[in-house]
């Protein structure tokens, strides 16, 4: 059973994780509009901007470089920092798009990144961060399907930034927007597949 829960509502007693809840007078209340997950015994937030967590992979843009410290725009209220050490042979310029993992989050707002990878060329789009799990799909099925059918390279950041490179970016973008709008419906993977196949046929006929 999964129930929708609203701010100020009492959380179920069996809750185990303190994420998205607060305690007042020995009672546990929800902080957010969320879904109570019976298996994980936690409240999953349904709305809202990205909040960084350790080990997530993100996509960002280098906005400044001073020595070995790069500042990375991650499209949330805080800032991202990438500190490269002497063993990294990689250099970035301002404006480069990178994907990286979150090593540490300091004081909610400063995100320390590591394992950077440069994403050359291509384009980026922004989606709602809460829709990212649906775009990725269970064990990456959805994003792999889009990448395969459109022959695009796709990197999805949990901060809601998606990097795409290929000839059929427009079709891939359209599919991602469709997932974003219909995230809560069933049978989406199948519908996206049908849509992508139709759109790719159209695109190929124009080219010929």
């Amino acid at each position: 059973m999964r129930n929708i829960i609203l701010p100020g509502m009492l959380a179920p007693n069996e809750i185990e994780k303190t994420e998205n809840v607060y305690i007042e007078n020995n009672k546990i209340y929800s902080k957010v509009v969320g879904l109570y997950d019976d298996e994980k015994k936690t409240i999953i937030q349904l709305e809202g901007n990205w909040i960084p967590k350790i080990d997530e992979s993100v996509v960002g843009i280098i906005t400044s470089s001073k020595g070995n410290v790069y500042e990375v725009e991650l499209f949330f209220f805080g800032r991202g920092l990438l500190i490269s050490n002497k063993y990294d042979n990689i250099r970035f310029n301002v404006g480069d798009v990178i994907s990286a993992s979150v090593k540490d989050v300091e004081d909610y707002k400063t995100v320390i990144l590591w394992n950077p990878k440069a994403l050359r060329g291509g384009t980026i789009i922004q989606v709602k961060a809460t829709k990212v799990p649906r775009i990725v799909g269970r064990s990456n099925t959805m994003v792999e399907q889009i990448a395969q059918l459109t022959a695009c390279n796709i990197v999805v950041g949990t901060n809601g930034i998606i990097w795409l490179r290929g000839d059929a970016i427009s079709v891939a973008t359209e599919a991602i927007r469709k997932i974003e709008n219909e995230a809560h419906t069933t049978g989406l993977t199948e519908r996206i597949k049908v849509m992508l196949e139709e759109e790719m046929l159209k695109l190929n006929s124009i080219k010929q």
Partner: protein, 250 residues
């Protein structure tokens, strides 16, 4: 408050000027998530009041020197559309009244939002009164609370607000424009439904001490209805959600 000499009769045969009972609310309807570009939004119709509230954030504080490294700052703008009312106070632009209401609304939400969860950021609340018929600050707070929940801002509770006024010896709930103009007292309140905590209490006019207590309990009683409408508006968004896949497939 207007001149009492030409005041209309506000209570006729035990009923109010618009036919309501003393403790009866005007009909309320809230639609959450109505604006696509905003992080959270709500459209509220409260009698003849129509209010649109939108929330952006938490986002980077604009003018970095305003940012507080320990907590989020909240900015609120209450504004009346030029076509919202026949009265003088609907003149467009930030006038004295709008600045005051923006300030008190901001202070209500500063007490309810977990500002320490978003340090260095700002949360913008915009309240636009499209049509006004008395009690717009209460309607604005009620709509903004739904918009904030819709934006996923961490907060303790979904606040509601309502006004109680006094005409003669009677206390009236949820004053409309005419009652507001000619009543002896008007007292808007914002309350946290979780524990009945008062977050805003303003008063214009004269009222007795015991009547204040009665007024607060009247507002708390009416709050049960308002809270239910607020919650239903948020639940409406997820009406068609398949509980197995969840909202976002997580």
């Amino acid at each position: 408050m207007s001149n009492k000499a030409n005041a209309p009769k506000l209570i006729i045969n035990g009923k109010r000027i618009d036919g309501r009972d003393f403790n009866q609310l005007r009909p309320i309807k809230i639609t959450a998530g109505i604006l696509k570009n905003a992080d959270g939004s709500a459209l509220l119709k409260w009698g003849n009041n129509i209010v649109l509230a939108a929330v952006f954030g938490p986002q980077k504080a604009i003018s970095k020197h305003f940012a507080d490294p320990t907590k989020a700052i909240i900015k609120c703008r209450y504004s009346m559309a030029p076509f919202s009312s026949k009265g003088e106070h609907s003149r467009s632009g930030p006038n004295r009244r709008a600045i005051e209401i923006s300030k008190v609304t901001k202070e209500v939400f500063e007490n309810i939002i977990f500002v320490n969860d978003f340090p260095g950021s700002e949360i913008n609340i915009f309240i636009e009164i499209l049509q006004s018929d008395g009690g717009t600050r209460a309607a604005g707070i009620t709509a903004a609370a739904v918009a904030l929940a819709n934006a996923g801002i961490h907060m303790k509770d979904i606040v509601y607000a309502v006004s109680v006024g006094k005409v003669g010896d009677e206390l009236l709930l949820d004053l409309n424009m005419i009652e507001d103009n000619y009543s002896d007292c008007d007292m808007p309140m914002a309350i946290s439904p979780r524990n009945g905590e008062l977050l805003l209490l303003q008063m214009d006019g004269d009222i007795k001490q015991d009547e204040i207590k009665r007024a607060i309990s009247m507002a708390q009683e009416a709050g049960k209805t308002i809270s239910k409408i607020q919650q239903d508006s948020l639940l409406e968004i997820y009406k068609n959600v398949d509980k197995q896949i969840g909202v976002n497939g997580v």
